[in-house]
């Protein structure tokens, strides 16, 4: 386990460099756009008619948070694998529930409940047919479970009253089940009040690859969610993908022109009935829930209800910056928007 973490940290270090370079390009675009000075008096990178933004100059301290959306977008946790007695591959993870204060927007602190200290939780990835063992340790002050979407026995469903049921603070339990069906799934806590346990940050992506795999691609995870910072259960004050609102506005996601990009798109937004994803300047093949290998649609906008997810596959034919955001545009203005920065292959 510790060796895997070490590897991820190293990978994170190298991946951090690339988005930071991307950030420079993004700033060049927005800060030096000619209309800017005339309309807003030259203050801040964005304002007014240029679109929603947090106050200029503020940055979330990703290091203090303990996770970085620019890294976790390509961070897949394959767990520790071994071969069982029956010749099957056994895949094991350790997931720790912990309470954590997270800076969810510059200067705004959120008392979160997390899996492995991050929002969203780790992207657990396996292959169809693997035997999965998820050792869940509750170090939070509150009771939790891990409920996986997938096909498994009732005792492993991670809901109160069934099987081991609630995992109380200080306790642990190992969920054991087979990886099926292949597709894009999710997991979350299932202790009541359910909405609050989810909205506090207890959710993550669960990918089951088909046995034959999918074509090689630049793979990204986008988990759509929000923060009800007032905890009144009446709606969210902040909307985001991958933990921090507007983060990919300042640091666009760098992708290569012409290269296959695969987006694992998940919606776990609480309190609002729908969410949506819209991509500018391009269309994508959409595979709902990722459980079929043929796309159902060629589109630039999909709507997902809570718990819905799907895979988007696309190639960017043109270089440059392309927005993506909720086409429930109110969410976009409240944080759920970002940029792809499409560069030529070979650009460092």
């Amino acid at each position: 386990m510790s060796s895997r973490r070490g590897f991820l940290a190293a990978a994170g270090g190298t991946m951090l460099a690339a988005p930071l370079l991307g950030a420079c390009t993004a700033k060049d675009h927005s800060e030096h756009s000619p209309g800017e000075v005339e309309m807003s008096g030259g203050h801040g990178p964005m304002s007014g008619g240029f679109g929603a933004t947090f106050r200029s100059g503020g940055r979330v301290d990703h290091a203090a948070n303990g996770f970085d959306p620019r890294i976790l977008i390509r961070d897949f946790d394959y767990g520790h694998t071994s071969i069982g007695a029956d010749g099957r591959r056994v895949r094991e993870w350790e997931v720790i529930a912990e309470d954590r204060e997270i800076e969810v927007a510059p200067g705004v602190r959120f008392q979160a409940w997390t899996f492995n200290g991050r929002i969203p939780g780790p992207t657990l990835r396996c292959t169809e047919g693997d035997l999965l063992r998820v050792r869940f340790i509750n170090r939070s002050e509150h009771p939790h479970t891990m409920h996986f979407h997938g096909i498994h026995t009732a005792a492993m469903d991670g809901v109160p009253m069934l099987g081991r049921g609630i995992i109380s603070p200080g306790e642990e339990f190992t969920y054991t089940f087979d990886a099926e069906p292949f597709g894009l799934h999710l997991y979350h806590c299932h202790v009541g009040p359910l909405a609050e346990h989810i909205a506090r940050g207890m959710y993550g992506t669960f990918i089951v690859d088909p046995k034959a795999g999918r074509p090689p691609a630049d793979e990204l995870v986008l988990v759509q969610h929000g923060y009800n910072t007032t905890f009144d259960g009446q709606g969210n004050q902040l909307y985001a993908v991958n933990g921090i609102p507007f983060v990919y506005m300042n640091d666009p996601i760098r992708v290569r022109r012409g290269k296959l990009v695969r987006i694992y798109l998940v919606n776990i937004l609480e309190y609002d009935p729908i969410n949506s994803f819209h991509l500018h300047g391009n269309f994508f093949d959409y595979y709902p829930t990722g459980t079929r290998l043929e796309p159902t649609e060629f589109t630039d906008t999909v709507i997902q209800g809570q718990g819905q997810r799907g895979i988007c596959e696309l190639r960017f034919p043109n270089p440059g910056q392309f927005m993506f955001h909720a086409h429930k545009t109110e969410f976009a203005d409240l944080g759920w928007m970002g940029f792809f920065d499409v560069v030529e292959d070979g650009v460092p």
Binding site: P45, S47, G48, A52, T53, F54, V108, T229, Q237, P245
Partner: protein
């Protein structure tokens, strides 16, 4: 026996040393409480209490400026701001705002004239504090133009109507004692209506403005101080006029009524100026005529005690100016400052002033037998209230 001994014992100690000792004891106990008392009590178990009241909103093209004051017990750090569910760039409030502290935020937002906006301030703890702008209108630039406009408005609604009302004086001189009593009662009815109306308006305003400086208490404090100060002035005038002939008491009463109405018109002018500043005032013929009819009755109130005398025209002009001119001052202040707490205090001052004037007039209402509420007076009071109510319907501000 003790009654004799006690002063002799205390008189051995000089008074100043007693005072010093007492102050020293109080200081030592307070210092000890501050140093040790708090540590013995548990901290508050709940989260911080964050309260902000918005004191002023200034709208300019592409920007919304709001001045907030911390009305709660704990510091408040505004982390982000969204307007109608859109996060906006802003400057100001880089540091937490302490108790009763104030700060100004400049939001960059392309607001559109006439539309409603909700400014939501997201604090560092995730709390949302909302401020509603019912209809966005560019805030008038302070300057000579605005002062001139407000002075004109104040003249229309303050000076001209009061002067018109005072024109009935020659007619009143021919009236009988009964008619004069009825007119005085009518004046009391008018003033009573104004006091209640201004109190309601002031309390509503103070409620909206938040509790940083006491909210509704501001109105009551303003009223109480105005009442006490005017009573003191009345006593001074009494002492001055006591040696004079009885005729001057009518003039003194007129002076007091003019001062009271003047203080009321200060508050009324303030309300008009504030309404103009936020674009809520329908400035036009309806407003001017409405106020003219409404405030003409105030002029009547001033001259009612002067029926049995012939004051020089200059003193009549003086009375009119005292009663009407504060409307100009109020309108200028209201348009330039637009501070709800100040407006609440000044409305309260008007209430106190009017109440004081009513107590001044009341003795003159008694008939020859000393009765207060006879048919004449009751009729006058009822007419006064009714006139104010119906002419008030003409006023849109």
């Amino acid at each position: 026996m003790t009654a004799v001994d006690r002063p002799s014992i205390t008189s051995r100690v000089p008074v100043w040393s007693l005072v010093l000792t007492m102050l020293a004891v109080i200081a030592v106990v307070l210092a000890a409480l501050a140093a040790f008392g708090g540590t013995l009590l548990p901290d508050r178990s709940g989260p911080p209490i964050e309260e902000l009241s918005v004191e002023r909103t200034t709208l300019a093209p592409g920007s919304i400026e709001i001045t907030v004051r911390n009305a709660g017990p704990d510091p408040v750090q505004i982390a982000q701001v969204f307007v109608n569910d859109t996060y906006v760039d802003f400057t100001g409030s880089a540091k937490p705002i302490g108790r009763l502290g104030s700060d100004t935020l400049q939001l960059r937002f392309p607001w559109i004239s006439g539309q409603p906006y909700t400014v939501s301030m997201l604090t560092s703890t995730g709390l949302v504090i909302e401020h509603t702008i019912p209809a966005a209108v560019a805030t008038p630039e302070p300057g000579a133009g605005l002062v001139g406009l407000m002075a004109l408005l104040g003249t229309y609604v303050g000076i001209i109507p009061v002067a018109l009302g005072m024109l009935v004086l020659p007619l009143l001189r021919r009236a009988s004692r009964g008619v004069v009593r009825m007119l005085l009662a009518l004046t009391v009815g008018l003033l009573g209506f104004l006091a209640v109306d201004a109190a309601i308006e002031g309390l509503a305003l103070a409620e909206r403005s938040g509790v940083a400086f006491g909210g509704p208490l501001l109105v009551l404090l303003g009223a109480a101080f105005a009442f006490l100060i005017l009573t003191a002035i009345a006593r001074l005038l009494d002492r001055y006029t006591r040696s004079q002939e009885a005729a001057t008491s009518g003039r003194r009463l007129a002076q007091m009524i003019a001062i009271g109405i003047g203080l009321h018109n200060l508050g009324e002018g303030l309300a008009i100026g504030s309404a103009y500043a936020v674009g809520a005032l329908a400035v036009g013929a309806a407003l001017v005529v409405g106020f003219a009819v409404h405030n003409t009755t105030e002029g009547l109130a001033i001259v009612a005690p002067l029926t049995d005398q012939r004051p020089p025209i200059t003193s009549l002009i003086g009375l009119g100016a005292v009663a009407g001119a504060p409307a100009i001052l109020g309108a200028v202040i209201g348009a330039a400052v637009d501070n709800p707490a100040l407006s609440a205090v000044l409305l309260g001052v008007g209430v106190g002033a009017i109440t004081q004037v009513i107590t001044q007039i009341s003795p003159a209402l008694r008939d020859s037998t000393g009765r207060l509420l006879d048919r004449t007076v009751i009729g006058g009071l009822a007419t006064g209230v009714a006139v104010m109510y119906f002419t008030g319907l003409l006023v849109t501000a």
